[in-house]
Amino acid sequence: MKRKWNWPLWVGFVVAVGGLFSYQFFIQFPSTRDFPWATLLLFGVGAVLLLVGLFRAFGRPQAYRGKVFGSIFAVIALLLFTFFSYVTFYVLRQVPLSAQAPRVGEKAPEFSLPDQNGKQFTLADLLSPNGAVLIFYRGHW
């Protein structure tokens, strides 16, 4: 008897791989970036589908394909999820403490820096009439 195509394995694997790459898109929006719930949801959907596929493959191997490639898919998906979690919950959180950064109530240190047009700005230049928001950022690359 010809065994049936075990579609949840394939769809689950594609969704899990898509989950990893989806963060490139979701990182643009604060609501899906600050906590990556949309990406984790995709991983979750992929995991459920892969489990369904594996249950079929191992539970009724005479009816469904996928014992070998389903296991490979599941291991790859798990590795991708581990990698994603490592980056978002560990690597991105390796930020210096900045214990000496100016605190509320302290004077902000003076500076004089050139802008994108070569015009020099001091902190004092920026403060009129009602102060300034200084945004330190990692840079463009």
Partner: protein, 107 residues
């Protein structure tokens, strides 16, 4: 920074100037500002002297292992006193403009 640019008129209405600081050169900043449509100054702190003064240096965190700034945001009032600080614990999570606007309004 894009979100701050989008709401830059609300900062302007409050008389508050936006300014961004990184180790990027003025030349890189010129291209970056043109591409992204930033209308506020992108200040170039190439030797990270100001970044160190504010203690927001992230050693070796650049793409080639350079010292760069960690994300951090400050609201400094007209008298030069810091009124709001945001030091994120996650590089990908930056302050949202509404947080800064709320800090300005409550001051």
């Amino acid at each position: 920074m894009r979100s701050f640019q989008k709401r830059s008129s609300e900062f302007k209405a409050r008389g508050v100037q936006l300014a961004a600081i990184s180790v990027d050169s003025a030349e890189i900043n010129r291209g970056h500002a043109a591409k992204m449509g930033y209308t506020f100054p992108l200040l170039s702190d190439a030797d990270a002297a100001v970044i160190k003064r504010y203690d927001v240096l992230h050693r070796g965190a650049g793409p080639k292992g350079e010292d760069i700034a960690r994300p951090a945001e400050f609201y400094v009032d007209a008298g030069g006193t810091v009124r709001w600080v945001n030091l994120t614990e996650n590089i990908a999570v930056r302050a949202r403009p509404e947080q800064a606007l709320a800090a300005i309004d409550s001051h």
